[in-house]
Amino acid sequence: SAVISQKPSRDICQRGTSLTIQCQVDSQVTMMFWYRQQPGQSLTLIATANQGSEATYESGFVIDKFPISRPNLTFSTLTVSNMSPEDSSIYLCSVERGRKAFFGQGTRLTVV
């Protein structure tokens, strides 16, 4: 299994500001995934973060809006930049182990 810690668990932010979400895994993993779950909707993959290389973004997501860092094999950050109310969502970090995905508890972001 994998234990994933995400911080913060929730935050309320002013529009136009940025928030950085941290994801810590209890052991080394090659890839880390960032998902977004908008209110009442399903999860959508934002990007895949590999250590030592640029993150790979899915269609509709760009690095300027969601910059990602992956400084080592157990840690990653996702920044939500220049926030607007439409960014209000739950952001989840995920890792794969044995063809099984594990998720953090998520960060519930509200932009006012």
Partner: protein, 114 residues
């Protein structure tokens, strides 16, 4: 590309009744199939997965799912539900090759009534 359709957004069921949550997928390549559960105010938890072999897959909490390749379906079933099964259920797929990027369905909210 892959896509997942969960045919019911909400399913209300009485306690101890059977339930089936429907999931259909579309993909030009072979995929792995998953069901995840999200209890209120909690993270996602894997219920079960189909990778290969027997098409009937048993998971945790008494749930099972059957992979039907010809109908591209992976419906989730439980013969007798409990109040504690109230949650959001997500069907998901991933490609066999490469990173396990999951494509999720829209989710089905299962509500168990006493």
């Amino acid at each position: 590309a892959q896509s997942v359709t969960q045919l019911d957004s909400q399913v209300p069921v009485f306690e101890e009744a059977p339930v089936e949550l429907r999931c259909n997928y579309s993909s030009s390549v072979s995929v792995y199939l998953f069901w995840y559960v999200q209890y209120p105010n909690q993270g996602l938890q894997l219920l079960l997965k189909y990778l290969s072999g027997s098409t009937l897959v048993k998971g945790i909490n008494g749930f099972e799912a059957e992979f039907n390749k010809s109908q591209t379906s992976f419906h989730l079933r439980k013969p007798s539900v409990h109040i504690s099964d109230t949650a959001e259920y997500f069907c998901a797929v991933s490609r066999l090759q490469g990173a396990q990027k999951l494509v999720f369905g829209q989710g089905t909210r299962l509500t168990i009534n006493p």
